[in-house]
């Protein structure tokens, strides 16, 4: 589902919505870069302004730091978790 607002877009399906912010001063064709600003909103999560980074995890955590450190001392807005770090649905050995 996509709504067009001038030259910004809002994309929303499920609980995640992403809005490409229109540039306030410069028209899209005159913008010097394809880089774009956006806002990522997910139900129950902090709003994230993009571009932003996604932290990589290993075995369920950001390496070397405990979850309380991630919560209190770091401002991680998203983590990448690989399937092989999770037990599979049926409880069989993970692939």
């Amino acid at each position: 589902m996509m709504k067009l607002q001038e030259d910004g877009y809002v994309s929303q399906s499920s609980a995640l919505s992403f809005e490409v912010l229109p540039s306030l001063d410069v028209k899209p064709l005159e913008r010097s870069s394809r880089a774009r600003l956006g806002v990522l909103r997910c139900a129950g999560r902090k709003t994230t302004n993009t571009p932003h980074y996604v932290a990589i995890t290993s075995r369920g955590s950001v390496p070397h730091v405990t979850p309380d450190m991630v919560e209190d001392e770091m401002d991680v807005r998203g983590v990448y978790v690989a399937l092989e770090d999770c037990k599979s649905a049926s409880g069989q050995s993970s692939v």
Partner: protein
């Protein structure tokens, strides 16, 4: 073997915020002609299957599906992209990219979707290249290697004022020149490590192989990247991103500092076992008392490669030709 059905079921069970659909993404494999032909259609099938599974599962309709864009020419995956833009568009919440250059030719019907790059970016220059093609979320794979190497990152975006030499992207905290340095890792850094400790302490922790060294470095390095992205956002808002990016690539060194020290002890899940009789990955922590003189003369930098080559040289392993000779 992971089947598409198992993958979709796992997504339902795990219920993540975002699930990247299965894609036929080659990692380190040279693509044959046949594979190229099949990659896109397979990926299309897998994305459709995941979308359908989630549609049927009412409880997990809140999982956002990101479709993988394959790291091949747009023309070779055009049918797949057309399907994404038509039938599957209402099921998609974003795109996952394995090579950011593909964004340059992305069909405009997909341009409203957020883009997650899952590449092998080796440093901030590569991140800037990705952002310049239009990436929204970037995985930063190099932080892990940098922290493990005992390197503290130190760069800002936009870069600071011109200096004579190129500025290094980070500091190798193993270097004993930091052992008396009581300044924070980087100036103006508000991370826990820089607020509470100084360089000499991190250097000491590393030389003592203390876990806290890597904890503090990881917190600091993530903060540097966090501030880097904040700077990127400001720069895009001001429409000076491309010039700032050019400045960054001229002011800073092109590569991260090389690893000199040893990382934390290698854990079993960090490498793939090659089979029975393989060499140990970690240098021995202590030896018999009588071997103390020998071990002092050998450098403390005994690493897995040295151990492995020593095992190969010893009489325990003989080349096959020699064994056959004996048998004759």
């Amino acid at each position: 073997m992971l089947s598409s059905t198992d993958y979709s079921q796992s997504v339902v069970t795990l219920n993540p915020d975002i699930a990247v659909a299965l894609g036929d993404v080659p990692f380190g494999v040279k693509l044959g002609h046949r594979r190229l032909e099949k990659m896109a259609s397979r990926t299309e099938r897998w994305v459709a299957e995941l979308a359908e599974t989630l549609r049927n599962e009412s409880a997990s309709h809140s999982v956002a599906v990101f479709a993988p864009i394959l790291p091949i020419e747009i023309a070779q995956q055009s049918l797949y992209l057309d399907r994404l833009a038509d039938d599957l568009l209402s099921d998609l919440s974003g795109l996952a990219l394995y090579h950011a250059d593909v964004l340059l030719d992305l069909p405009s019907r997909l341009s409203h979707l957020p883009r997650l790059t899952l590449t092998n970016a080796s440093g901030p220059h590569q991140l800037l290249d990705e952002i310049s093609t239009g990436a929204d979320l970037c995985a930063v794979p190099f932080i892990g290697a940098v922290t493990d190497a005992g390197i503290a990152l130190g760069f800002t975006f936009p870069p600071p004022v011109a200096s004579d030499k190129r500025i290094p992207l980070g500091m190798d905290m193993w270097d004993s020149k930091y052992s008396l340095d009581s300044s924070p890792l980087t100036d103006d850094c508000s991370c826990y490590a820089c607020r509470t400790h100084h360089r000499a302490y991190i250097q000491h922790l590393l030389s003592a192989k203390e876990m806290l060294a890597w904890v503090l470095l990881q917190v600091h390095n993530h903060q540097v990247i966090d501030q880097f992205f904040a700077g990127v956002r400001q720069s895009i808002a001001a429409d000076t991103f491309e010039s700032d990016r050019a400045l960054f690539s001229s002011r800073y060194e092109s590569e991260l500092p090389a690893k000199t020290g040893s990382g934390p002890r290698v854990r079993g899940y960090q490498f793939k076992s090659e089979g029975p009789g393989e060499a140990k990955r970690n240098p021995p922590a202590y030896r018999q008392l009588g071997e103390a003189e020998e071990s002092n003369s050998e450098a403390a930098e005994l690493d897995a490669d040295a151990v492995a080559s020593e095992v190969a040289r010893s009489s325990l392993t003989e080349p096959i030709e020699a064994v056959e000779q004996h048998q004759k």
